[in-house]
Symmetry: C2
Subunit: 354 residues, 2 copies
């Protein structure tokens, strides 16, 4: 029996998460195992209920679970709060840090039937299948930061700080993931300018001997941002610093058609966290318009990374592929000539293909 | 009489720069003014000649000139050097800093005949006309940095440091430029996570009262990376921190077809610097294959920003547009059905249209 913490969150969260839970239930039944789901509050819903975006009970539940499935957090209702107190920041950052989730995995995979929905030309995006591994508990996000008045006026700073050990663990993980894929690793940094990037690059160099079967390339972050648009098919696994990863993974997420398709996993601690890349989409919340596929694919990542159920994970991904191939689309990926369906309907279609 | 320092640099630099110089000569003749051009070494060529990527004589010449036209620096010959000693880093960073060039202006403008060469679908990229204004002498590039061994092992850091005054001058410039365009300013930061971004955002807020005719929007950097691909036409002027600007402007540069089309200006000091966005392209150097249009368009920016010759600047841009509309292309923007020309030929065509 595996314990799964379920945090629907805000906006479309409560609509999409149940679809993924039901997929996991089908998988469990087939595999003859049991998942025990426990719901908890997070984000704006938690702020409203108890004044905190990440209540201690929720964190405790996550700690005691084998995996966490999260929907999305935030919305206009809480936009009057200072940026650092909004649900996204005040829930997600401490959750990652507290659970020790140092690696954020974000695949950008093109389901070929969706090439029309991509902003990129078909011949550019076709075949895209990459994963960005973002360092998630260090770097510019968590280094020393301060704002103060000095003799020279007001100043503020943040620090991109890394220890060699922090870099080693994420890079080693990236090498291992590259090994399970096409064996090509692109390490992204700004080593021509940043000292922390030089430590990053040296660390990658020092580890590559352990993975002789993986080819390694170093790329500057500005060039990577360019190459992701120019020729995304050149990438297999990308590993990079927290802030660089935040930017590049959001950029990559739109290449493949819709951010509504993209799952993520945050791993490294004892309990991993799975969530769609998209936000809470308050504008369409409660209307059964949201695309549940990113959450369903996040559940597939859970099967793979938390429960080592590789076959079952692949089955879920294949089911999603078949539903798309049959022409079913939620509004975010709809193009004329396809069949428009709602959130629950899309979930049912995927389960039927399982 | 205006004095212009000419630094061709490496690779294709010595092929493209003369084409822009000749355009400036035509402009001067028509306008009845005089430009005095003086050449100097920079980059790898300078390393080879005197062991320094930015020789003191070159810097001195730049200081005494009214504007600087630079080609490109770097190449495989110097790639064995540590990243921070390579021509790009060791020439460009100190040149910017010494000349006080705190604002890097990078337009991404689609010449409509080139929509086919863009990785984006025509309906997405058509109409793109934005400019990124990147802070260039502060932020993560120039804040305190260090690498050291501690009890916890090796560590390294860089600091994203800003004073309110540094932010004010670049934001004010961005407002002014927005005023001369479509009056929409997007300030890009990561204020939900970074303290320096909060100072950035507050500074923008404190200045906007001075520019009531400009609409201002704040956008997180990850979202901006996404929006640039999803819908680039939503942007007019983008202003942002040094590293964010490095990443976003390189990303934006590929949207419009070819990086071979994109000019830049670095301004703020007494002498401004103009250079194409692309690099020295050593693979095609010496073959008359390079696209001189980015350098020619950089010369147009010089006319506009250094010499206030707005009409002449527009005339150069229009000439480039007409040459493209007539179907002439260098190799980087060639598609079947257009007419392939070399570097010098493209330069001649533009001058003929002037
Ligand atoms: C909400 C925000 C703090 C978060 C981040 O920057 O990490 C988000 O952009 C993400 O990528 O998960
Ligand atoms: C060469 C490098 C130091 C430089 C930078 O990062 O500023 C380049 O990428 C640029 O954008 O001009």
């Amino acid at each position: 029996m595996y314990k799964i913490a379920v945090l629907p969150g805000d906006g479309i969260g409560p609509e999409i998460v149940p679809e993924a839970v039901k997929v996991l239930e089908v998988v469990a039944r087939r595999a003859g195992i049991e998942f025990k789901f426990t719901e908890a509050l997070v984000g704006g819903a938690a702020i409203d209920a108890c004044g905190r975006a990440l209540p201690p009970e929720t964190l405790e539940l996550c700690r005691q679970s084998d995996a966490v499935l999260l929907g999305a957090v935030g919305g206009p209702k809480w936009d009057a709060l200072p940026p650092e107190e909004r649900p996204e920041t005040a829930a997600l950052l401490p959750l990652r840090k507290e659970l020790g989730l140092y690696a954020n995995l974000r695949p950008a995979y093109l389901f070929e039937p969706l090439a029309d929905a991509s902003p990129l030309k078909r011949e550019i995006v076709s075949g895209t299948d990459l994963i960005i591994i973002r360092e998630l508990t260090g770097g510019l996000y968590f280094g020393p930061k301060k704002r103060e008045k000095t003799e020279d006026g007001e100043v503020a700073y943040d620090t991109m700080f890394y220890t060699r050990a922090e870099i080693e663990r994420i890079v080693r993980l990236a090498f291992q993931i590259a090994r399970s894929r096409r064996r090509h690793l692109t390490s992204v940094d700004k080593a021509n300018v940043l000292t922390s990037s030089r430590l990053w690059r040296d660390t990658v160099e020092s580890l590559k001997g352990e993975f002789p079967d993986v080819t390694v390339e170093h790329m500057y972050v500005d060039n990577c941002a360019m190459q992701l648009v120019r020729r995304p098919t050149q990438f297999d696994v990308i590993v990079t610093e927290n802030t660089f990863g935040d930017i590049l993974s959001d950029q990559a997420s739109v290449l493949t058609g819709s951010i509504g398709m993209l799952p993520s996993a945050s791993i490294g601690g004892s309990t991993a966290l799975y969530e769609p890349v998209h936000g809470s989409a308050p504008d369409i919340a409660g209307q059964q318009k949201a695309n549940p596929l990113a959450t369903i694919l996040s559940a597939a990542m859970m099967l793979k990374y938390s429960f080592k159920m590789h076959r079952e994970a692949a089955a879920v991904e294949d089911a999603v592929g078949r539903v798309l191939a049959k022409g079913y689309r939620t509004a975010d990926i709809y193009v004329p000539g396809t069949k428009l369906v709602g959130t629950a309907e899309m979930g049912t279609l995927v389960r039927r293909e399982l």
